[in-house]
């Protein structure tokens, strides 16, 4: 059936038509906040006085941010957390997705579903649950550790006294990393599983007939085919990790924890804007963070350089 002439587009016009709804929305709702934030970075603004109270201060906010101890501290925290939470996620999600893909038939949905549950759970619930779990004397995590140290041979690996997760500056970071890992590993499993579906079975069959072992198939067929999805998922983890906000917010009650050990840059930004009422500095910092994330995303891009053709 031929479409009416008006709907028959030339290949040249197609991208513009297809993109126009998206671009339109983007210009209205995405670009304006972006530009506003950029403008604000050069102003000194205390929000409750109203829009008219903004005053131009040039690069003052940026200079302040770069000289600010807490800003650098937050960047370090962010980097540590992004790595500590991000790396294990992918190292575990890929083999896990592969294992689920190959070893479960009827139970597949259930298994993946269970791993995906944490992603669905709302922050409100997680806040209460995890503060309960991480409690020093009665939290189940410490109880679990205590039980594990009762197993002969494990005692030397376990700490002697209950770990103070929430209050001690050294422990809050691992606690946050654990929470982030818990929350997103299932998400990555789902992504990788979706990608694994697109690898045709015949390639595996051909390899089996050639006598390839399971490990070889994984290393030489699966991994390379997954490369685009790995690029995607890792990019998301880089961006998400560097913008880490919710999980540290939940565990530290929005403050960043003792000695600001759990204060990521995003949390610091939030506090600058809404607790310390310094919107100009907050905007400047968000742009500095932007530069960091953009740089790292570009590096990830270069490292993976996705293939242009779609042949697997």
């Amino acid at each position: 059936m031929k479409l009416p002439a008006i709907l028959r587009l030339s290949p040249k016009a197609v991208p513009y038509v297809l993109l126009s709804p998206f671009v339109f929305l983007f210009l209205v709702f995405g670009l304006f906040p972006l530009l506003f934030s950029l403008y604000l970075a050069f102003q000194s603004w205390e929000p409750t006085s109203g829009l008219n109270s903004m005053s131009f201060v040039g690069f003052d906010n940026f200079v302040f941010a770069l000289k600010d101890e807490w800003f650098w501290k937050s960047l370090k925290n962010t980097g540590w957390l992004a790595l500590a939470a991000g790396v294990p996620q992918h190292l575990i999600a890929i083999p896990l997705a592969y294992f689920i893909h190959t070893s479960f038939r009827r139970l597949r949905n259930t298994v993946v579903g269970v791993y995906f549950m944490p992603y669905i759970t709302s922050s409100v619930a997680i806040a209460i649950l995890f503060s309960s779990l991480f409690s020093t004397d009665f939290g189940l995590i410490n109880i679990g550790i205590k039980t594990l140290s009762a197993i002969p041979g494990m005692a030397s690996l376990m700490p002697a006294s209950p770990i103070d997760w929430m209050n001690d500056a050294d422990n809050i970071k691992p606690a946050i990393a654990v929470l982030v890992f818990w929350r997103y590993v299932g998400f990555n499993v789902v992504l990788y599983l979706a990608a694994l579906q697109t690898i045709p079975d015949d390639i595996y069959e051909a390899a089996t007939m050639d006598g390839a072992s399971r490990v070889q198939k994984f290393l030489y067929i699966t991994l390379p085919s997954l490369k685009p999805m790995i690029f995607f998922a890792v990019t998301l983890s880089v961006i998400g990790g560097l913008q880490l906000f919710e999980e540290p917010f939940i565990l530290t009650g929005g403050r960043g924890g003792s000695d600001q050990a759990g204060m990521t840059t995003a949390i610091y930004l939030y506090r600058m804007a809404f607790d310390f009422n310094d919107f100009g500095a907050a905007s400047a910092m968000s742009w500095l963070l932007f530069i960091v994330i953009a740089a790292l995303t570009l590096i990830t891009n270069r490292a993976f350089r996705p293939r242009s053709s779609a042949s697997t």
């Binding site: 205390e46 409750t48 109203g50 109270s53 309960s132 409690s135 009665f138 209050n167 929005g254």
Partner: protein, 430 residues
């Protein structure tokens, strides 16, 4: 074309009729205006929203045609939404409820109406309010940006049974800070209970004593940093002593561990707002009913924990500001409303003239029948307001961090306070 009547009588009749119709319409319009339904929007948070809602019947008696719409959000969300509304002057409520922690920042900004000016003239009511609450609503330029509704007078709640077991009297506990710590050691020895939940609580009170005129908590009026002054040194030293002698439970407030500490009796005292007694009774530790008593804070310290204020945004609809002001007067200066809020929500009134109400003399069962409200009433009148500085929230954070380092890592106090000084100096003038 119609033939027009030419007789003068007919024209006169038409004119009269027309006049009647026009007058009728005008009257109808005026009547509509008089009966017009206004709606006052009041923005609040739990549990103040309950207090506002319960005042609606009384309001309706005064203004039957004016409805009250309560927009309630979670505590932090509310203040974020208010910041947003003030920043763009859009969708501002007619009456804005603010908690004292946020009042300082909003007061400096200039987004709230100065109630000391006509037509509000709150100054004529000044003596009706608890002095420090009125002070808290006054900003540096002398503008009074809000009216106090309720306050949180600080008190020392302690376990009488634990103290008895350790042979410590209330006087010993509250005579001086050194005495407080010494009593704590005795309590630990005899019962194993911790004196307090966190050493930080003690630091918080001690730094509030001995503030000179012209000084705020962390900064003075010229934005000089005050954190190396003697009251800070003393506060840190006391806190360190508490930690070294293992007298604090090292739990943060409102955590499950803290809660459990009350239930199990491992925390012997808590410096807090008077309202905590109500919470302990209702859900935190109802099993400990009767074992607690309330005393004044040690060494004659008087401090406030919380407080609710009502304000009018400058950018709100001008035609409703007078109504908004009347509503605020109802909430803050009406005897029945204040007393019922006290009884229903434990909202300690800021209105002095009801301090003679018999409710104050009622024994409180949770506190073993003690008539604690009398003590709190005294405390309320003796609290002094502290000047607020824009960087106070940041300063609090810095000081808490340094304190943690002193307590957990054994950092030297002088160095810690010097580091804090340095950090705060960088931002004092932003």
């Amino acid at each position: 074309m119609l033939l027009e009547p030419t007789t003068t009588t007919k024209t006169k009749t038409i004119k009269t009729e027309a006049k009647r119709v026009i007058y009728g319409l005008l009257l109808w319009g005026v009547a509509q205006g008089a009966l017009a339904q206004h709606t006052l929007t009041v923005a609040a948070y739990p549990a103040v929203d309950e207090i506002v809602k319960s005042a609606i019947p009384a309001w309706k008696k005064l203004h039957p045609t004016v409805d009250i719409k309560v927009v309630s959000r979670q505590f932090v969300d509310h203040h974020t939404a208010m910041t947003t509304a003030l920043s763009t002057s859009a969708y501002l409520p007619d009456v804005m409820v603010l908690e004292v922690g946020y009042l300082g920042r909003f007061a400096q900004g200039g987004g709230l109406e100065d109630l000391s000016r006509p037509p509000y003239d709150i100054k004529r009511f000044q003596t009706r309010f608890v002095p420090y609450a009125y002070q808290q609503a006054t900003n540096r330029r002398g503008a009074v940006v809000a009216a106090p509704a309720d306050i949180g007078p600080g008190t020392l709640l302690y376990r009488a049974d634990i103290l008895a077991k350790a042979g410590v009297s209330e006087a010993e506990l509250t005579q001086s800070w050194d005495g407080y710590v010494a009593a704590g050691a005795k309590i630990k020895l005899a019962t194993g209970a911790n004196l307090l939940s966190h050493a930080r609580d003690m630091k918080d009170i001690v730094i509030r004593s001995g503030i000179l005129p012209g000084e705020g908590l962390y900064f003075d009026n010229q934005s000089n940093v005050l954190v190396t002054s003697p009251r800070f040194v003393r506060a840190f030293e006391l806190a360190r002593r508490v930690r070294q002698q293992k007298l604090d439970a090292r739990v943060g407030t409102w955590t499950a561990d803290w809660n459990e500490g009350f239930k199990r009796g491992t925390i012997a005292t808590q410096m807090t707002g008077a309202w905590l007694a109500g919470h302990l009774n209702t859900w935190l530790a109802p099993n400990t009913k009767g074992s607690w008593r309330a005393a004044q804070l040690p060494e004659g310290a008087f401090a406030a924990y919380g407080g609710t204020f009502y304000s009018i945004p400058r950018g709100a609809a001008p035609e409703r500001k007078q109504l908004a002001w009347e509503f605020i007067q109802l909430m803050t200066m009406n005897r029945e409303i204040q007393v019922s809020a006290f009884k229903a929500q434990d909202a300690f009134p800021a209105l002095l003239e009801i301090y003679d109400d018999s409710f104050f003399e009622q024994p409180i069962a949770f506190l073993g029948g003690q008539t604690a409200r009398l003590g709190w009433r005294t405390a309320a009148k003796r609290i002094t307001a502290v000047d607020v500085h824009k960087q106070d929230a940041f300063a609090e954070e810095v000081i808490n961090t340094e304190l943690d380092k002193v307590l957990d890592r054994g950092k030297d106090i002088t160095i810690a306070l010097a580091d804090a000084q340095r950090l705060l100096q960088q931002r004092a003038n932003r």
